[in-house]
Symmetry: C2
Subunit: 415 residues, 2 copies
């Protein structure tokens, strides 16, 4: 047989900025090195946040003699998808009362985004063959555009979000982008807690966007992760999302339980579908079932059982809500402390945005050259765009990080 590979040399190398940054951090031999770009939620000890009650719940499930190991239904564990959906859209949501909303269990939030994207791609291909633009925010999570591409969309565009001069949202440019969007385009929106910049729209801005999207018939696809970790209140974190449902939008929402349950390795996601009526919901579910059957057959059970157990049991639920609140307060404290320390040090620039922002992530406002100085001179690693996971900060490293940021900013301005 020929020794030549079927596969030519044309394969492109992967570009993974997050992994590259983590790899560089791992290679760094400096004792004082600090990583501020974690994907997960960290405790004040700098460790992955393992919630004790989740661990106990998992043990109970593993020891349950009544559970066999049969496949879950293709659409997932019904007691999970029901409570997961209720957690996001609210138990008393009009969409639930009218029986036109439901969830589909997926391998993680990424799986939910992919599944929704794949359905939309198939549907748009038939119904709007010439109008298949997908809008992701600039900046977005680095997977957002790729997931829609992976699902078959080719026209991925961005809408302005972060304005680095104003350290906030560039609403004017954003409105222009959405005004220019072809009717029926898909727009990926961030729920408050997992906004990559940490900066959420004001209620007035959300209303303006909803009105614009209604006018242009744009389809909202929300991404919801870390629910509760922005305000500490599970309901408050999803008010803008629920507002869209109240306004009568049909929409999708990719929900993940990795961060707020510390269930990363369990891959627990849920695709929430809100349709106009029950008939459409059932149609969409039947189509999603076909896609699932041809992609991963049925989702993994354990994580879904854990989430279902917690959310269905008032005593455990109360304890989990308390845990969420504590973590959210820890994150807010880190925001406040960093801002105060930078102010005390007299660091050039304004740092008010650190506490205006909410949730796990922050666009710190540090530019690429400052990030570079932090890495090369101070062994402090964060995203090239200045993004910090606020839970990567803790009582043990915040003084040092603030001092390093101060020096990096001074160096970059004064040379």
């Amino acid at each position: 047989m020929s020794d030549l590979s079927v596969f030519s040399e044309t394969l492109k190398p992967p570009v993974m900025s997050y992994n590259q940054s983590l790899e560089a951090f791992k290679q760094d031999k400096d004792f004082a090195k600090i990583f501020l770009g974690h994907r997960d939620c960290r405790t004040d000890d700098g460790l992955p946040w393992v919630i004790p009650l989740i661990k106990t719940t998992q043990q109970h499930i593993s020891n349950d003699p009544t559970l066999n190991h049969e496949h879950l239904p293709l659409l997932g564990l019904p007691e999970f998808t029901r409570v997961a959906t209720e957690l996001a859209i609210g138990k008393h949501s009009i969409a639930l009362i009218e029986n036109r909303a439901g969830g589909i269990q997926t391998p993680g939030g990424t799986g939910a985004l992919w599944l929704g994207a794949k359905f939309l791609q198939q549907w748009y291909k038939v119904n709007f063959p010439k109008q298949t633009a997908v809008y992701v925010s600039l900046p977005a999570w680095d997977t957002h555009g790729g997931i829609f591409q992976n699902a078959g969309f080719t026209d991925i565009r961005s809408y302005h979000y972060w304005d680095c001069m104003e350290m906030g949202i560039g609403m004017k440019e954003l409105v222009i982008d959405l005004e220019d969007a072809p009717d029926n385009s898909i727009v990926v929106l961030h729920c408050t807690p997992n906004n990559p910049t940490g900066m959420d729209f004001t209620p007035q801005e959300w209303i303006q966007i909803a009105n614009l999207m209604q006018k242009k018939k744009l389809f909202p696809f929300f991404h919801l992760s870390a629910q509760g970790l922005a305000s500490g209140d599970l309901d408050r974190d999803v008010l803008p999302f629920r507002f869209f449902i109240e306004q009568g939008f049909e929409l999708f929402c990719a929900q993940s339980f990795s961060k707020n349950f510390g269930l990363y390795e369990k891959s627990v996601g849920n695709l929430i579908v809100v349709a106009k009526n029950n008939k459409t919901l059932l149609s969409i579910r039947s189509q999603l079932e076909i896609i699932i059957r041809l992609a991963w057959w049925s989702p993994p059970a354990l994580g879904a059982r854990i989430v279902a157990t917690v959310l269905n049991n008032p005593a455990i639920l109360a304890e989990w809500k308390e845990n969420i609140k504590e973590m959210a307060e820890h994150i807010m404290l880190m925001r406040l402390k960093l801002k105060e320390k930078l102010r005390t040090l007299g660091t050039l620039g304004t740092w008010e945005h650190l506490t205006t922002q909410m949730g796990l992530y922050s666009f710190s406002g540090l530019n690429a050259s400052q990030v570079d100085i932090l890495r090369t001179k101070r062994h402090v690693y964060l995203g090239a765009n200045g993004q910090i996971n606020m839970s990567s900060l803790n009582s043990g490293n915040i003084d040092y990080v603030a001092q390093c940021i101060h020096e990096a900013v001074n160096l970059s301005y004064l040379g």
Copy 2:
């Protein structure tokens, strides 16, 4: 807002023969009803096969305080993919020695098929834009063609496999189909234990197919599930697959641990890649990583940890091998008993194929009208194509099933 749904009425209803058959069975109120089309492996008591050592292993893992819950690497748990790959291709495989074979963890065997298909689709689109035919067997698992379609292939063809007149493989037609295939087409092949018909090629036929595929540069994509449950011997079950590797083929293999570990709800799969050289293997892995990142991010951990623990621990491994052997012997006994009973009853037709076949599934040779009679007159449910899961038969139901088959065959011939 308009009350009309974005989603038109054009959505097609799903066609799912397996689910329909199961639904009809569930609706049947008859006390003596029997289902012979299970997707999982059943014990002689008619229950899902839960392997006690797997349950204990799971409990140990759940109670392990050293495990945190961080994401697995995108390509999966390395200690799992290594042993899983070794189990299939052999520890001493030349491809492993030459460092050009490896595994990628996926959500189940379906996930492995989809992932491999998606990679091939992207690669073929660039390199063989006009030659992207995918051949699946006739009959195949009802998902095989759909998975490749879901991954973006449009030219799905079938190659002849089962010859219902001969109750065996239609080798002549199969050879014609592959001879006619465009060079570089992809061919999906069944490993012995999960062949949907139960009828495997003879060693000579495997050699003939390998030669033909070499000549035509056809790309083999194997599907391996239920390893060990055909012959009771883990190695013997994959001899034809290993023969292809020895012949120098580059190939993929979608491996599932649902059936032989009873881990259905854990979604444990592995995509095995055998490349020409290490460089190509690494290229392919980097491309697969990108696809994974945009489809499910990282696979669920628990099932992979269970499989890795069992396969890495000689004492547990020996016990599991014993379990596998017992189940395989049970399945073979059911084949033998059914054949003998039909012979004793003097049922029309030849039933020799029941014991020539191997593995969990059998094309019984019953035609659609006989299957229909069994369902409507005797409350016995099997696939419309006559497919039976041999582990759905057991000491408690085999006499009754044989009697029903006898009557159905007589009725269909004699009216």
